[in-house]
Amino acid sequence: MLIAATVAIFIAMLLAIFRGIAGPTLYDRILAVNTFGTKTVLMISLLGFVMGRPEFLDIAIVYALINFISVIGVLRYSDTDQFKHTPPNKKSEEEL
């Protein structure tokens, strides 16, 4: 059952990567990174159990924290200022 869950998480990760590469908007990419981070947390926890040493869950905690911080940072620096100020010719309609 652990293996099945790990495989499922892997597939979900792959799909998130495709969304991250395909875009098309900035927010799709942020969303992809965010879900990818959550999936990574789950996968680390599962891997600990699969490999038989589940005491390294500290890493999963770090992942959850860092994921939060990086998403907030990305929003903070993409939300305001520069990306709004870019003249329209630089920013195609899709990329908004």
């Binding site: 490999m51 038989g52 040493r53 390294f56």
Partner: protein
């Protein structure tokens, strides 16, 4: 054989992707990303060398007898933090280049430098 060397080949592919970005693409930030990829491929190489099949993480425990090699872990652990520090230094250079040249494209910087040189040469000839 195929599975035994797969890690090494992926390392080579990643390393060459990094090298390609550094050589072929003109944007300085992209170049730094390429350097990061190159760096990470080296990390992956070290860490996959350290793995012993059937081994466990090198944190000693009574019930476990086979451990992976701890030495590459130590080297890479410090290398990662040094890597981010040097990347930050590179990024600060990029910021300064942007401030003085107004661009971070390699070709445009080169053009501006050439123009500058030509001007200086002309001034010298006149004098």
């Amino acid at each position: 054989m195929l599975i035994g060397l797969f890690n090494n080949w992926v390392v080579i592919v990643l390393m060459m992707s990094g090298l390609y970005i550094v050589i072929a693409q003109g944007n300085l930030i992209k170049k730094l990303v390429g350097l990061t990829i190159f760096q990470t491929s080296v990390f992956i190489f070290y860490i996959s060398m350290a793995k012993v099949s059937g081994g466990s993480a090198p944190i000693l425990d009574q019930e476990i007898s086979v451990y992976s090699n701890p030495l590459p872990h130590v080297l890479i652990l410090t290398a990662i933090v040094v890597g981010i520090a040097t990347t930050a230094l590179g990024l600060s250079l990029v910021v300064r280049i942007k401030e003085s040249y107004g661009t971070i494209e390699e070709e445009e910087i080169q053009q501006q430098d050439n123009l500058q040189n030509q001007k200086e040469n002309k001034v010298e000839v006149k004098e």
